[in-house]
Symmetry: D2
Subunit: 311 residues, 4 copies
């Protein structure tokens, strides 16, 4: 058995508000075909890859919000992705807005799935670290209402055996939090997939706008190195409905080195051979957890949510 997974990071350019899921899916299937020509085993798509990034608008009509959500996966419009997986023999990671009815209760998550080469869903993740805000804040150039439109994920940070290794998922803002990587690392993750939608402009602290690209990479490079895992991180990029979204989708080695990066802000496929056995270079040495970690001193990480006042 080979432990090399050829991964494609399939960045998407902007999706306009009036574009249909089918249009987006056609672009994704085209990227899957490109990936086939590069011998990919799996392709990673962005977060909320089927529509425009709708949390940028305040919508008082819940039906208008819900129109951006999927009630089944696959559904009629997303089925071509699953068919392409089977036809081409390529798995994929996909981010989308998920609506589930649980008895009386309607629940909404920012979700991603991993689909294998047989077109079967092998894992699901619901975003845990929801960024943005709950209420309409008209002073912002645009809204970021993930905290309003989604619940925090309830499935934890899972890993799955897929593509010959141990695969984990995360979404966008999760990548800023070292806990994300560490929990997955403690589960032995070898290949982490995540999609993102990251505006270049951060309204609360615009004086950091020029650091968006730097921040995007530094957290993931540290996370990859500190846990000895490959990371594939994929953007929806470009000027979408007047909002500039960061590109620079990338594939990161367990050493923290970026081994492939998109340099456009449109639809773009980049590819790297990820040798999962190379995770051991890190996991068995500088970050050998069972030899070096001292969890008795980490308790505050779970015992408090916010800062504990200094006496």
């Amino acid at each position: 058995m080979t432990r090399i997974v050829t991964v494609g990071a399939a960045q998407l350019g902007p999706i306009a508000r009036n574009e249909t899921r089918s249009q987006a899916v056609r672009r994704m299937v085209d990227l899957m075909r490109q990936a086939k020509a590069k011998s990919c085993d799996v392709v990673v798509f962005p977060e909320l890859a089927l529509t425009t990034f709708f949390p940028r608008w305040f919508m008082s009509d819940q039906a208008e919000v819900d129109a951006y959500f999927e009630r089944e996966m696959p559904g009629p419009e997303t089925r071509p992705l699953f068919e392409a997986a089977v036809d081409l023999g390529i798995g994929f990671y996909l981010g989308y807005a998920e609506l589930v009815e649980e008895g009386e209760r309607t629940r909404r998550f920012n979700t991603s799935i991993i689909v294998d080469k047989a077109g079967k869903i092998v894992g699901k993740y619901r975003k845990i670290h929801l960024p943005g805000h709950h209420e309409h804040e008209p002073w912002r150039a645009f809204q970021h209402l993930e905290k309003r439109y989604f619940e925090p994920g309830d499935l934890g940070f899972g890993v799955w055996r897929a593509f010959g290794g141990i695969v984990g998922m995360a979404l966008c803002n999760d990548r800023r939090w070292p806990e994300t990587y560490r929990v997955l690392g403690l589960k032995g993750v070898e290949l982490m997939m995540l999609g993102y939608n990251t505006p270049l402009h951060y309204p609360p602290v615009p004086e950091h706008d020029h650091l968006q690209a730097f921040h995007n990479h530094i957290v993931m490079q540290a996370g990859a190195y500190q846990n000895g895992t490959w990371i594939v991180a994929v953007a929806k990029a470009g000027r979408e409905e007047g909002c500039d979204l960061l590109g620079q989708s990338c594939i990161i080695a367990p050493t923290g080195e970026i081994v492939a990066m998109c340099s456009t802000i449109g639809d773009e496929l980049i590819v790297a051979d990820c040798d999962l056995d190379r995770c051991k270079e890190i996991k068995d040495n500088v970050f050998r957890f069972d030899y070096y970690r001292q969890p008795e001193h980490y308790r505050l990480i779970v015992e408090t949510k916010g800062v504990v006042p200094c006496p």
Copy 2:
């Protein structure tokens, strides 16, 4: 009250095996004088700053090992540092090997202290993440026997009110572990001081040697950003007893940007004005812990030391 702390990172070049503590202290006092001319409030010295990095040798005679340890702080040879603090009105951080007798028991730690402008010790830290190995491994070009010569620290990751802010400490390998920063971050740290001795050559994985400088910075830059803290990280650098030690001592802003860095591998002072109020740019926004963290999903971080096997 001003919240700007002018910090000096006082890198040391090599200390030969036959150099005395007094020689090292003279170099440090000279750096403190340079710091005075730059209006510093506090100076950060390296880990184990008083002697050569003795864990690089296997010594079977415990008395030979113990000769590198301090039994009192200050003692006769280190007192000039405390006197200089008072004379110059400059605090300091110092790393040293600490030997304490507790009844029948002799304990040894890799320790650092913060001393204020009045020459008073305001905080002590004992290194928690001891790197290296326990046994003599003659296949290595040099040993790294911290696990043999020290116990893991027993004081946790503390913070103290000093220099007008909340100050924390760590030592060398601690900086690679995101838990270090996060525990301090949850205690509100605004200024983190740490010393290090980092060989360029890592015997278990020499194919990563060219990444030492990259790894040194990336973990600290991510840690600073993810917790909104200033970090001052100071090396003992240069070719010490045939072993090349990384320099690139640096001062990092809460944005993760390196704002000052040493570019020699000898004794060198760099200085930056650290505005502790700027921590809020991060702490109150992108990393507002109480709004965004989800500790119920982090439990594995404290419930396991090593990797949990994937089913």
Copy 3:
């Protein structure tokens, strides 16, 4: 004689259109005082440091343009800088718009000067690489009319003996052109000073906006390394009249390493000890010009201005 020059990079935040030169000068004198407390020998101010960056507006009235120009240096409003130099014993580099009458002809340059600790102008440079455009281009979010308001510099790239070494100057867009560094390098430059005003937004290719910070540093780091020179590069930064200007003013070692960097976008002083003797680490070795250069193969650099069509 010591060859260490303690340099301050004195970044300015925005200057509003209605602010006077005297207001700007007061801020600069305050930065010089801060520099004194850090034992600086010389302070570097930005390009066009006395007023708002006026080439961002199309003005059809030449008198309105000329109001931004200096006809004497020092003049009544700039004299306090020269007096502060003498009082504090600190030299400075200053960028400003220079208007000279040569007989019938009025000439306008984007100029910088070096002033020594005695308040004497020891060198003048007129910007050679004028960026931007000649004509009003209303499609842009803002204009960049340096090519309209200035002539290209007519003084070449000069060096001067000052502060114990060989000092050269450049301005803003000059730093993007390797020829700038090379001509100065061939004149033995050891310390290069330059000011800049760099909008984060580049209207012709907005898809590169997120790369402004990267581009700013990479050209200067390469230039420093390839010529073995210290570089001090200083921005006017922040949101000036609705236009975001890059900060990240920095001091770069002859190794290409950034040894100090501003992390705000306001008035900020950073300091580094620049040991001019360290230039030899590069100049006498990897970039020993007389041993390695092959000028007979470089002729195209001077024989053509634009691209020569490929047959």
Copy 4:
């Protein structure tokens, strides 16, 4: 006609002194097959790719030196590369030591060629910037006798129409010199290929050893950006006969961004789609030569080889 060239950077791990050219060629053909599976149009191999890096030894016997040189290209041992090009429909760049007899005179060059998909040599380059030294210097850990074993190239920096664009070449140390990129840039280069052998240890200034990886990238990233060209740079890497060679082979976009990088120090193929039309993003804007360059001020670049003393 499409302007996307799919490029493979085919890094080689070490080649022992006793390995034959045929062994190296087999490894290269294997990399070409991998490249085929990734739809590559062209593959770039390292400098002196057929043998160990022989300039690291002083050899007094010229016949021993000459054994490392090629007298014909292709010859019996290198023909499989040309046959693979035809079979697979993939062009390649190859570096090798070239020996030519010109009448009485034997000339030796450090050479590279571009071979098209039909197996035809379309361009040849002879290394202009020879690094290292002429004489045996036994104090070094290893020699670097390129200046002894080769003449400087006599063909200038050429470009050729190939793979749908304008392609140029350089070799190893050439990449440190901005003149290399600029001459090629003035000839309109869109895709620059270069191979290198770069020891991690630089005997004259060992205190810079930890900067080798940084220096390798920074010069090429600046060169790509300043000339708006793709660069494919490929190492012979790893521990070769006791000498550690830098890897980090990479593909760089005209923006200066690294879009693919090797993360091992062995045989490794990385791939990127290089859209040659994207060069215009840079060439027609920030580095529009005919609009911005001022060659009258660059004359020193060709008028002197070494530094001109400052008065």
